[in-house]
Amino acid sequence: MARAGPASDRTPMAGMDPRKRMAHLLRRAGFGVAPRELDRRLAVGFERTVHELLEFEGDDGLAEVDRLIGGILDFNAIDDVRTWWVYRMVHTRRPLVEKVAFFWHGHFATAVGKVGNAQWMAQQNQIFREHGLGRFGDLLQRVARDPAMLGYLDGSSNRKAHPNENFAREVMELFTTGLGPYAEKDVQEAARAFTGWQVKDGAFAFNPAEHDDGSKAVLGRTGRFDGSDVLRILSEHPATGQRICRKLFSFFAHDDPPAKALQPLVQAWNDSGGSIREVLRTLFLSAEFSSPRAWRAKIKSPAEYVIGTIRALGGTVTPRAMAPLMARMGQDLFNPPSVKGWDGGRAWISTSSLFERFNFAAAVTGQRGPEGTSHVDPESIFEGVLPTSLDDVLERTVAHLLDGELPADARAALRGYLEVPDDPKAKAVPFAFDHRFADGKLRGLLHLVLSSPEYQLS
């Protein structure tokens, strides 16, 4: 098997095996590695790959699916918007852009169940895609004027006579500073500043007649603030930078950031005026990101599990079928359970969600349709070089799907599984990588690896 050596990397992280480190980066900054992708990325090198993920300028390879909007894909139907996003996540050449959109979807959680308008959900998703790596303050201003968000948090019916506090509260508690810096009175004052922010003909509209133009006191500052002013006060508040940097760290690296690992991120935030791109650059190039504390430390979300698996197997599945499966695992795209988004972490794992994962693994490895339909060819993980022994089958499967690492007893269980003939009546024959093996035992092995506890970890 051709293995490219790592290109020279000046980042101060020599400890982690370069293949493992690159696969880790691509799981976190994207949705995992496709067959043959790792060697190509390794030839480019870690630092350069980080740069490409952040600054990618070329064709994202998605014109094909975007052309279907308005035709096969009807954006008045949320299932079509979901299908579109699933396709993008699997096929994009800009994986970080989709991953960052996914992060903001969880942060600025907005549920179609209440918004009731699929077009608006798609528009909001596009904001996350186009501005998700830009300055936080700009992103916040756009999201606050977004019809889906205005609908979700009742902003558009916020009138002078009776301010509606829903958006004002959540923008502080969840989107910016978090609990602590503000009091109940700040929520009430901020709600007044957002009066008159409405949706008209599917777009943001300011209605001066419903705006409370009086003086407001928000977070210790006083003035005749409007909504923009309040958003600026909030996005510039030091608690916001700290909180967003911590949340980015937790999402992309691990859940328990030490203060000294956060400090450079906050510094990058301050130096760049809240640029998410600069915070992530600092994060991905940090030693903490490529440390054992981060590697396999996070539980995959259903989207990461499903999309990562499709990519890893290099197969073709019906994108339309994927979003409902994620929903059953606990992540209904475009319909988070509350404005807090998904709790994530251990909350992803329950007895019922594990069965959903096991049964997804069974279904996806059992896709035997003809090429071009729903089809998963288990051989593709071997990248054209067929295995020569059961040990070779196991080692290379573990290398591709688990960065080569699996506890000894689990490895022994999988080796034992491979040895048992799939038909107890059949005579024992020496190993040959033939069609029967690839269609039976190899699919079974993939089903087991995708169901293993280690594979649930990102």
């Binding site: 007895t351 035997r368 689990a410 269980a413 599984y417 799939d422």
Partner: protein, 403 residues
């Protein structure tokens, strides 16, 4: 289990059946059952149990207030029940429903998440205590240890924090069909080997606190419980009509599980959508109707299956809503709300202080009754557990006919 080895091989369940959990040692009929229903989003108590004869009510809520034809009078009180709750009203008249007024957290927190966490953990500082109030309480039972089916979360993919114990959450279950491993149909003979290997990759019992160890533990529970559930729930048949939709389906599943010999003591399920900042009336009415019809169907089904005497249903919601409506035909986050407790063992009636709209607390129905008193009563009088270790020293209410 009445299955031959050949049957097991045929169904591909051999590896799983080996993990099948023992049924509880106690006779199942000795067990009382508590079904906890979360009304997520903050249910507006003032339009659930409404002080309709107080002129201030309509003044505060010109568009949201219940009209006279949307109200069911409560005998000997100035209050009415929202008319969509006809079935619960009938049960109330028969003395089988307790309605607790002004219930809430001692210090009001208007954040959904903070307030929900306080209710679910029964800790005023909920972030220091990941385990839920029922999860902790059930650990007082020696026979609950190593018996994960003592409590079940129904619906959704996650486990409610209410049912998280000190060691691990109790299982959650969306449907029986989805709670089993699917074998590869093309190689049915391979299924036993595959199931053995699936159990083996989750077998390592060492707990180093890592996510992998946690996943292995939940997986062992899932694989073990799957076989028990499949065999125990086979005989259930029901003619009772539940409300259409997920909530009704979940209540039917609760009845099916209660009718089985599994001995599950506590269930938690969620009816969401009560965060009615805008266009409240239709939305809340739809939800309250589902609640009322659903709880009544469950009790009826329980009667048909002979476990109704052992059943009590408790509702909770993180907060009530402002007395004054907002400009969107809705209400914002408030304080005190109402809780329902239903079942033939319940001492029916109204509990707590009826709201005085002339004496609101900062525009809210005051939270005049500490929610922990509700839990303490349920734990002590219904489940026979010690409330103090779970909720601290709290006075209890006499909410049940029997101790």
């Amino acid at each position: 289990m009445g299955l031959t080895r050949r049957d097991l091989l045929k169904s591909g369940a051999a590896g799983i059946a080996a993990l099948s959990l023992p049924l509880p040692a106690l006779a199942a009929d000795a067990r009382r059952i508590l079904v906890v229903v979360q009304l997520a989003g903050g249910n507006d108590g003032l339009n659930t149990l409404a002080p309709i004869s107080d002129p201030a009510y309509r003044k505060l809520r010109p568009s949201v207030a219940l009209a006279a034809n949307e109200a069911l009078p409560m005998r000997d009180t100035p209050l009415v029940l929202n008319s969509v709750m006809g079935k619960l009203h009938a049960l109330f008249e028969r003395g089988q429903v307790a309605i607790v007024q002004g219930v809430g957290t001692p210090s009001v927190n208007r954040s959904h998440f903070e307030s929900t966490a306080i209710w679910q953990t029964a800790r005023l500082d909920p972030h220091r205590e990941p385990a839920g109030w029922l999860g902790r309480a059930l650990e007082q039972r020696a026979d609950a240890i190593g018996q994960p089916l003592t409590a079940l979360g129904i619906g959704g993919a996650g486990t409610s924090p209410v049912l998280v114990g000190a060691r691990a959450p109790y299982p959650s279950l969306a449907s029986l069909e989805a709670f089993a491993v699917q074998p590869d149909r093309r190689f049915p003979q391979d299924a036993p080997a595959l199931n053995r290997a699936l159990a083996a990759v989750h077998a390592d019992p060492k707990d180093d606190g890592s996510p992998a160890a946690y996943i292995r533990r939940v997986a062992r529970t899932a694989l073990g419980a799957s076989a028990s559930l499949a065999s125990a729930t086979q005989g259930y048949r029901s003619m009772i009509e539940y409300p259409r939709g997920p909530f009704g389906d979940q209540l039917r599943l609760v009845a099916q599980l209660c009718a089985s010999p599994l001995g599950t003591t506590a269930f938690h399920l969620t009816l969401g959508g009560f965060d009615t900042h805008a266009n409240q009336k239709g939305q809340q009415a739809n939800l309250l109707r589902q609640l009322s019809d659903g709880v009544a169907a469950l009790l009826e089904d329980a009667e048909a299956h002979g476990f109704v005497e052992r059943l009590a249903v408790l509702t909770y919601s993180e907060f009530g809503r402002r007395a004054q409506e907002n400009a969107s035909g809705g209400t914002d986050h408030g304080a005190g709300s109402v809780a329902f407790l239903a079942g033939p063992g319940v001492q029916g009636g109204l509990y707590g202080k009826t709201v005085d709209l002339g004496a609101l607390a900062d525009g809210d129905v005051p939270s005049s009754l500490d929610f922990r008193a509700l839990y303490a009563s349920v734990l002590q009088s219904w489940l026979g557990l010690k409330p103090a270790p779970v909720v601290g020293p709290t006075p209890t209410l006499r909410l049940f006919r029997t101790a």
